[in-house]
């Protein structure tokens, strides 16, 4: 009986893994076509066209801040210097207990103003709204609200206070590339189908050089943990999301950087303050809204890296982040279970959700069980080591090859790193990742799933980060 089960499991895992690999190959081809198309049909001349056109639509940049006193000034200045002809910056002080608000008031000469704030989306109450007396900061609005405990709650308040038809959601501690708005609005404008959201690549800020909130030099993280994440992010954005974007199956637009159609996101109910995966939750509800109203939509991704964020620098903080992501994934499938395999929701119901269920939610469980079965078979001396070797090398070489390919895709898109040695430093982690980081990730996912079903409340908490290399030596202490 055990032997039969073991045989079945081995064959099942082989075909499961091969199916996963085939899906990667398909995504690789789609993402390559997407990148080539993007590079071919877009140029920097388009930025100039948008900058000078009276028809360019306005964008509200929405950035929540919680206890960001140390870096808030440099970060807000960075947002204010974005390159775009018509935009506003809305900073939401989510009940910070440090001097975030005081610093903003002093630095930007803010004054409390009567503001017709309409709470179209749910959030904790707004206490005051500030505008600057200095015309140099006229595009800045600061919303001071009662702490809601989540970024989602604060983002909703920012969306309520926004004036333009599109909003860019980001974290105040993220460093945005100056032309981000110009690059991200283009897919919305150059489409006859309604584009409800646009995403771009996020990368690790660790080890990059930043001066007064402006990114000066991009470098791969020196620490191994953030460097693993750099490669992981590149794979997630350049391979997965770019690939899915080609067939309009993008599963989510990251909370760190996403441009959204305000009307549709308000009609879909905005961010859910109780969700652990608020970004995927919002996209799911926006898509559900469009499907329920028989409206065609697109969600696009651009391959450019537009946002740099500091990733967890050590295992302890990574654990907290990843278990939260895992809880979020379980929650998404429970909350939106009606979408799974539902023809009404087209791509979302028939491709995105089933794929995420089979290859993202269940994958850590299958792999975890696989390791247990493997250990049992070793103990019983039932392992054919030669054949096992082939299978392990098969998965290992494939993973390394895919990671190398993603690095190539990144090089095709733009050469962010100055030297080949920096590229090679990233390549080194492609070899190490399957041996260490991947195993840790599985463990974190399993712990996240267990904690979702066993714990009743979750603390969001804050984490201390190590800070980026800045000429002014400013430390960054964002929240997870």
């Amino acid at each position: 009986m055990f032997q039969a089960l073991s045989d079945f499991y081995q064959v099942f895992v082989f075909f499961y893994t091969s199916a996963l690999f085939l899906s990667y190959i398909m995504l690789a081809m789609l993402s390559f076509m997407g990148i080539a198309r993007y590079k071919g049909y877009n140029s920097d001349l388009d930025d100039n066209t948008l900058m000078t056109s009276p028809l360019t639509p306005g964008i509200s940049v929405v950035a929540p801040a919680y206890n960001e006193g140390k870096t808030i000034i440099a970060n807000v200045r960075s947002l204010l210097t974005l390159n775009y002809p018509l935009f506003e910056v809305i900073i939401i002080n989510d009940g910070s207990t440090d001097d975030t608000l005081e610093k903003l008031i002093t630095e930007f000469e803010l004054e409390e103003t009567p503001f017709a704030y309409v709470p179209k989306l749910k959030s904790q109450p707004v206490k005051r709204i500030f505008k600057s007396k200095n015309s140099a900061f006229e595009i800045l609005t600061v919303v001071d609200k009662v702490n809601g405990g989540t970024k989602a709650d604060a983002s909703n308040a920012g969306i309520n206070a926004s004036a333009f038809p599109y909003y860019l959601c980001t974290d105040v501690d993220c460093i945005l590339e100056r032309n981000t708005l110009l690059k991200m609005i283009k897919p919305i404008l150059n489409n006859t189908t309604k584009v409800i959201a646009v995403g771009a690549t996020l990368r690790m800020l660790n080890s990059c050089e930043v001066d007064e909130g402006v990114l000066k030099t991009v470098k791969p993280p020196r620490n191994l943990i953030p460097r693993f994440q750099e490669l992981e992010y590149m794979r997630a954005y350049l391979l997965s999301k770019m690939g899915w974007s080609a067939i309009n199956c993008v599963p989510n637009v990251s909370g760190g950087l996403g441009l959204f159609d305000k009307e549709i996101s308000i009609r879909a109910g905005g961010y859910d303050p109780l969700s652990h995966a608020e970004d995927m939750d919002l996209i799911t509800r926006m898509i559900a809204y469009m499907a329920n109203n028989n409206q065609k939509y697109r969600i696009d991704y651009i391959p450019l890296s537009c946002c740099w964020t500091e990733g967890p620098p050590n295992i302890r903080i990574l654990y907290r982040q990843r278990t939260r992501w895992a809880r979020g994934l379980v929650q998404i499938f429970i909350v939106h279970r009606r979408i799974l395999f539902n023809r009404r929701y087209k791509n979302m119901g028939l491709i995105v959700y089933p794929y995420a269920l089979i290859f993202e939610l269940i994958a850590p469980v299958i792999e975890f069980v696989g390791w247990i079965v493997f250990i049992i078979l070793v103990l019983f001396g039932k392992i054919n080591w030669q054949m096992t070797g082939f299978i392990l090398i098969y998965t290992y070489t494939f993973t390394v090859m895919i990671s190398t390919m993603v690095i190539l895709w990144d090089q095709i898109t733009f050469k962010y790193y100055r030297s080949i040695w920096e590229v090679l430093r990233l390549l080194v982690v492609a070899f190490l990742e399957p041996l260490f980081y991947h195993l840790i990730s599985i463990y974190f996912s399993i712990r996240g799933y267990i904690s979702y079903f066993t714990q009743k409340t979750f603390e969001w908490g804050t984490m201390t980060r190590q800070g980026v290399e800045t000429e002014t030596k400013v430390n960054v202490n964002p929240t997870v």
Binding site: Y41, L55, P57, T113, N190, I391, Y394, M401, T404
Partner: protein
């Protein structure tokens, strides 16, 4: 002998692999494929970086003297002979091969777009002497659709009017992006029938097409602009009608007021809203009573545009209408528009605004304060 023994070994391996289970055979095939791909990717990464940095280094070396040379010829009022110009560029850049011609083209586009240099003849002399037009022509004939599109863009950015015949075949390209780019550029470069494709286009214009078209129109002599009212009246393509409506207001074509008024009967509310907005921008005071008459039957977006238009007319006859719109508005957005119209209407409007501020409470009062607050730039 050595070759034979390697071959023998390979055959032995093959026989061994053939004896393995099917799954393992697949694995081995994948492993070989992955290793080959891995090394290929590495080679491509190395080569692409080498090419990129070689080009960057070349640009860094050549751009300062090239800029100097371009500026010299652009600012040279008498104009050198073609042969002299060509010789100087060859001296500066070396052979005028494709790579160097691309660098020169990019720099010329940069100067054309970023500096208000009224020196079209000087640009043309450089283009002719260096052979940029022929270089782009070659690109249009033998390259991918991406390069074709960029070639068409370059012709349009450099305003090479002689290129009309080169672009024309692409105006019917099967590739949508190339076709759109060619048609937009044709509008700027054609001397015969530049607006041909506004008459013919069946596909929907998206926002980017409109932005691109406006860019071309802005690059043209204002006196040569057509009357956009004909497309408002006759085009069956809704997106072209929408674009034409916007252009009438942007270029202040008051002769379009009658056709814009006709658009108030359009079954599409987006077109009605655009037409009302244009009437407001054109200060078509004669349509005030018509707009007030239709107000109650319109959706929110049209109602807001009507209030804005009436506010812009400032005839002094419609204060009651604006106050009424304020009182009956059921969304904060409409309230804001009505309050702003009231505030900017005339002195009487301002005093009504001030009295409303005293009378109202809660969100109504906040809306009035919001609208008059000079610190709030985007109301």
């Amino acid at each position: 002998m050595v070759t034979l023994s390697i071959l023998d070994q390979l055959l032995t391996y093959y026989a061994k692999v053939y004896s393995y289970p099917f799954i393992i055979q697949v694995c081995i095939l994948f492993i070989i494929g992955c290793i080959v791909l891995f090394f290929s990717f590495l080679a491509i990464i190395a080569y692409s970086r080498y090419r990129h940095f070689r080009l960057k280094a070349k640009e860094l070396r050549l751009l300062p003297p090239l800029d100097e040379l371009i500026l010299k010829h652009l600012l040279d009022e008498k104009g050198e002979e073609f042969g002299v110009i060509q010789q100087e560029f060859t001296q500066c850049m070396g052979t005028l091969n494709n790579e160097n011609l691309d660098i020169i083209t990019d720099r010329l586009i940069f100067y054309k777009n970023n500096f208000d240099l009224n020196v079209n003849d000087a640009f043309y002399r450089i283009i002719e002497a260096v052979g940029i037009e022929k270089h782009i022509e070659k690109k249009l004939q033998f390259t991918s659709s991406f390069s074709k599109m960029k070639g068409i863009q370059a012709l349009s950015n450099l305003a090479i009017t002689a290129a009309e015949s080169n672009i024309f075949p692409f105006t019917y390209s099967r590739n949508l992006q190339v076709r759109k780019e060619a048609r937009t550029s044709y509008l700027r470069l054609s001397k015969n029938d530049p607006y041909k494709f506004l008459d013919e286009a069946k596909e929907r214009f998206n926002a980017w097409d409109q932005i691109n078209l406006l860019k071309q129109l802005l690059g043209m002599d204002k006196q040569n602009l057509p009357s956009f009212s004909k497309w408002i009246a006759y085009s069956e393509n809704e997106s072209i009608v929408e674009f034409a409506i916007r252009m009438t207001s942007y270029f202040q074509q008051r002769d379009a007021i009658p056709v814009l008024t006709q658009q108030l009967n359009s079954p599409k509310h987006q077109l009605r809203a655009e037409a009302i907005k244009a009437l407001g921008e054109l200060e078509a005071k004669e349509t005030e009573s018509t707009l007030i008459t239709i107000y109650n039957n319109q959706p929110d977006n049209c109602q807001m545009e009507i209030i804005r238009a009436i506010g812009k007319f400032k005839t002094g006859l419609s204060l009651d209408f604006i106050v009424n719109a304020w009182e009956k508005s059921h969304t904060v957005e409409t309230q804001k528009v009505a309050a702003e119209a009231l505030l900017n209407y005339n002195e009487e409007g301002q005093s009504v605004f001030n009295s409303l501020k005293i009378k109202t409470l809660g969100i109504d009062q906040t809306v009035l304060q919001h609208v008059e607050n000079p610190l709030i730039k985007f109301k």
